[in-house]
Amino acid sequence: MAATPSKSRVKPSPPAPQTPASGPRRSLRLSSTPRTPVHCYDPSSPRKSAKKSKRSLLKTPAFCPITPNLPESKRRRRSGPDSNPSKKKIYFKRVVFDGVGFEIGDAVYVKRREDAESDGDEPEVEECRICFEVGNFVMVECDDCLGGFHLGCLKPPLKKVPEGDWICGYCEARKMGKVVELPKPPAWKKIKRTAKEKLLSSDLWAARIESLWKEPDGTYWLRCRWYMIPEETAAGRQPHNLRRELYRTNDTANIEMDSVIRHCFVMNPKDFFEANDEGDDVFYCEYEYDVHWHSFKRISEIDNSEECDEGAGNDDEWKLSKDSDSQTDEDSEKEEDTAQGTSYRKYQTHQLAANSRRGRIFGLQRIGAKRIPEHVRCHKQTELERAKAMLVLAILPKSLPCRTKEMEEITAFVKGAICDDQCLGRCLYIHGVPGTGKTMSVLSVMRNLSSEVEAGTMRPYSFIEINGLKLASPENIYKVVYEALSGHRVGWKKALHHLNERFSEGIKVGRQENQPCVLLLDELDLLLTRNQSVLYNVFDWPTRPHSKLVIIGIANTMNLPEKLLPRISSRMGIQRLCFGPYNYQQLQEIILTRLEGIDAFEEQAIEFASRKVAAMSGDARRALEICRRAADLADYRQKQLSSCTKVTSPDSSAGKCLVGMADVESAIQEVFQAPHIRIMKTSSRLSKILLVSMVHELYKSGLSEITFDKLAATVSSLCSSNREDIPGWDTLLKVGCKLGECRIILCEEGTKHKLQKLQLNFPSDDVAFALKDCPEVPWLSKYL
């Protein structure tokens, strides 16, 4: 069995001069349709109509087998002459090869064995496992063996494709422990395997195209990142693996275009489950597999989207830089390495400290899990758990209710500032109490705008987000801004100098042309220094002639500009936007939009929670947390219940459990009520006596504090008149200090002994409430 196809293995093939574009290499995104009419067979059209797991479609009988390597004559060539016939590698974003466009990021089948062609023509459409005909009937796929069956061939025949998982009779029987005999194909018919089957039995590779280029000799090469089937990993196939699951590896190789067979589709979980009729070549990929460390890691969606953004956003530039790179060094290896950052090879040569370079951590590959934990994959969420997952603060809801007006205003502000030809700087000050969606609104506006930039309806701009609380010192803001603009790290003084130059004289910073820049300053009040120079400098930039700078400042206090020096407030305080606290209807709407389609909460419970929070603070985070906590409590209760009753009735857990008023009530208690009353109620006998005598004495004297000397005397007189043992003074001192530690009382340190001053930290009514009907020491109520 051959290992990864390497350069040496691939047959040199005659050049296929299909350059992606003619003339000056322009962005291919704009001209992505193949220039030449596609003569050869395009595999995408029948694939669309091929069958797909459990969901069905009518099969088109028309299919023509595709041979991976078409005869030379059939190979279409591009009409456009290569504009750069020099001896350099030329990188492309998209290559049309055999009439099929291959783009970076596509997944493809790759030949694994030299004799892969011996399998001959590969069936595009699978045959039924029972009648071994293709036929124009609906087929259903078994979720276990992935075999296809005509609905009519099944016994009993199915009328339509069943919802949910479906397992064929053979697999079911096998699971029961029976020996089953699959129907044998007629002798004359050779079983043909589809590409998918070959892949899953490791006769083919699947790979993701990372980069495409043309060698000086005219052959097309691509750098690919392999996909792996679960059987090939160190952990083997795990019980939770799906049949169509693949792992993305961190192993790459350069292969020639010839060994590529055709497209397949590797999807992330969301797309996979939404995919309906994508055909047979659909695979599921959720994890990345580290071939060196044999560990798994989820593929983060943010990662992918960033990559896409980068690729799509500055397409031209990307190509330019690639070209210039390839002119300077012929070898792409180096560049790839720097681009990847976490390359294994790099790591081996010189060990770098993990925390010393931001964004690039060396040795991260060790973190992956050795096995994918089963509970993550196989767990069926209950309604409550789904509700909890939706209430997590981190989840960005699809729609942001109740803030449309503010968001429109922000959008108008940013658009107005950027689209202005002069692009004069402007400032916007946003204020509001925590948890009212200030940052979230700005970020979602920026997301919307960046999609507009992509669509080409807006000028590109750069966006810098800075949080005042995350800066080590206010001066560091210069450093961060400069780094974001130029990519270089310098000290803050130098950064300030450069930034001043850039904004006032328009001197280019970094490689990029000076774009308009949107600077989001979160927690603005943290940038305050004694002489307020940082804020002054920052807010002075927009007034400079070449700044093209738009500043959005966010803080909690509404009168921050007034508190600043007049020369700063005149610069920043002109345009303001207030985020008021949410009222209860808004909070209710926010919670309800998150919980849409999940039946876990009682209607009044949500209303209760939102009313309570609206009355206290109007903090949406708080409201969500209370609901989540309530769901938690309900979940806990239910799980305890089900574990108790498991013996008697195993299906009791199926009973639905709604989050009710009681749960919300106790969650609110937990959040809003200080726990001191409970601590007082459960504290030791002596501390109760001490508290009561303190209240008594303070009431008598009318003062707010008492010395220990006096308190101890009161305690002993109370004790003696109620036939208690009179405690020693040192014991009393200890008890007092313990209460002081819990901050039920405030007291000076114990070394002051009889001179120690004590104070109640809570109103004396609380003490009275807590200790009034104390069953242990009933005489206490006399003194309250």
């Binding site: 925590p434 609380l469 560091n476 005397a713 043992d725 002994h753």
Partner: protein, 436 residues
């Protein structure tokens, strides 16, 4: 001693066997009482215990891959940290290789930069990465964010255990903010556990930090009497199926049963929990009592517990007065007289004057020179029965600095009564004052 003799003698000797058995029993009891996790292990199965609540909370955030933050509040000695450790140990057995714990202590890491650095250091240590001391705090906080993401992607849960949580809430709270803010992202998977004995710890948080905190609180309260009984049964009985001979176990357990049922024992326990009923205090008491066990008999007696409770009821100040020398008593009484004369500031010289006045008025036999008196005075200062009034006269010599009496009047009375060498005149002087 006992063990060495058992080696010398033939192993058949019953007394030697018994004492070695007793040693083993003692070791077992001590190991039980030494760590609080054993005590909390007793209440594992009850659904209302903090153990099961905390375990549920952490395990759901592992299983559901979400972020959580929780605050454990309760007086010192109520077993907050030991419950956390118990939960973490059990969970890391349940989910091997999926937990990594970062431990921070407010006493050490309340400084933001230092805290971030410590987080980075422990993260590096945990994942065998190279750590650089030189990294700036920006780098470290970025590293923390990256690690949170990467660990979340690898289904690993990071647990931040912040001991003395209230101390992190000083200053700008940058550490807490960046930690809690980092936990607002989807890809991270972390639990922040704050442990504090201050009940108002969450009120100390700044409002934007508080808004990000999820406000779960677990309250640790002292054991109830029933729980205490259950625990005592659990802790003091020897196991029947063990290497101990069954006769010994039977005898030992029957003794323990008698002790536990004894009225005196319960009184002692009550007087202990009247002062401080936290589990830490009770464990300390039991440990002391068990340590008094007579190895020859190998059995616990009620006397063991009685002598242990005496240790816990010591009044150190009274004891010092009890053992003080005659001259020291004179000085204390003089100071007390000055205070009752409402002379608020006084120093060594005025005390000496008072002392001489007493001497002349009552013609006592105890007359000492100034240097001797000054030595006694310094001794009292060292024992902190008296102290200088702070802030005043720091540049003056000891003799001129104003002082204050730290012993209260009733303590002084008690002390004088129990002091055997106390002259009668001092008692009289004090009594006289109290009548006035």
């Amino acid at each position: 001693m006992a063990s060495s003799s058992s080696f010398k003698l033939a192993p058949a000797s019953p007394s030697a066997q018994k004492s070695s058995m007793a040693e083993k029993a003692l070791a077992l009891l001590r190991s039980r009482l030494r760590d609080q996790s054993f005590a909390h292990g007793v209440f594992k199965s009850s659904p209302d215990s903090n153990y099961s609540k905390l375990k549920f909370l952490i395990s759901t955030s592992i299983a559901e891959g979400c972020n959580n933050s929780v605050l454990l509040l309760g007086p010192r000695g109520s077993g907050k940290i030991s419950v956390v450790e118990l939960v973490l140990a059990d969970l890391s057995a349940d989910y091997p290789d999926m937990l990594s714990v970062i431990r921070l202590n407010g006493l050490l890491h309340s400084d933001d930069n230092c805290g971030l650095k410590e987080i980075a250091r422990q993260l590096c240590l945990e994942h065998q990465l190279l750590f650089s001391k030189m990294a700036s705090s920006d780098d470290n906080s970025q590293f923390m964010l990256d690690m949170l993401r990467e660990c979340g992607l690898a289904h690993k849960t990071l647990i931040f255990l912040l001991d003395e949580f209230d101390l992190f809430a000083q200053g700008k709270q940058r550490l807490l903010y960046s930690l809690l803010d980092a936990m607002q992202t989807l890809s991270s998977q972390a639990v922040a556990i704050g442990v504090s004995c201050r009940l108002d710890a969450d009120q100390l948080l700044e409002k934007r930090v508080r808004s990000r905190f999820s406000h779960r609180k677990l309250l640790f309260i002292p054991l109830t009497t029933e729980d205490l009984k259950v625990f005592l049964n659990h802790a003091l009985y020897l196991p029947e199926d063990s290497s101990f001979s069954s006769n010994y176990v039977k005898e030992f357990n029957s003794r323990v049963k008698i002790i536990l049922g004894d009225k005196k024992f319960n009184e002692a326990l009550n007087s202990l929990s009247n002062v401080d009923g936290t589990i830490g205090n009770i464990l300390r008491f039991l440990y002391q009592a068990v340590s008094y066990m007579d190895l020859a008999s190998g059995l616990l007696t009620l006397q063991n517990f009685k002598s242990a409770i005496l240790c816990f009821q010591k009044q150190p100040k009274l004891d010092i007065v009890k053992d003080a020398s005659v001259l020291e008593l004179y000085i204390l009484v003089c100071m007390n007289r000055l205070e009752t004369k409402e002379q608020n500031t006084y120093n060594f010289n005025s005390i000496l004057k008072e002392y001489k006045a007493i001497h002349e008025a009552y013609k006592t036999s105890d007359h000492y020179g100034r240097t001797v008196c000054s030595r006694a005075y310094e001794h009292l200062l060292e024992q902190e029965l008296i102290c200088f009034v702070d802030g005043k006269g720091r540049h003056l010599s000891n003799e001129c600095r104003p002082v204050k009496l730290l012993v209260s009047f009733s303590e002084l009375c008690h002390g004088l009564k129990s002091n055997t060498s106390c002259p009668a005149i001092l008692q009289k002087l004090l009594d006289h004052e109290s009548f006035k």
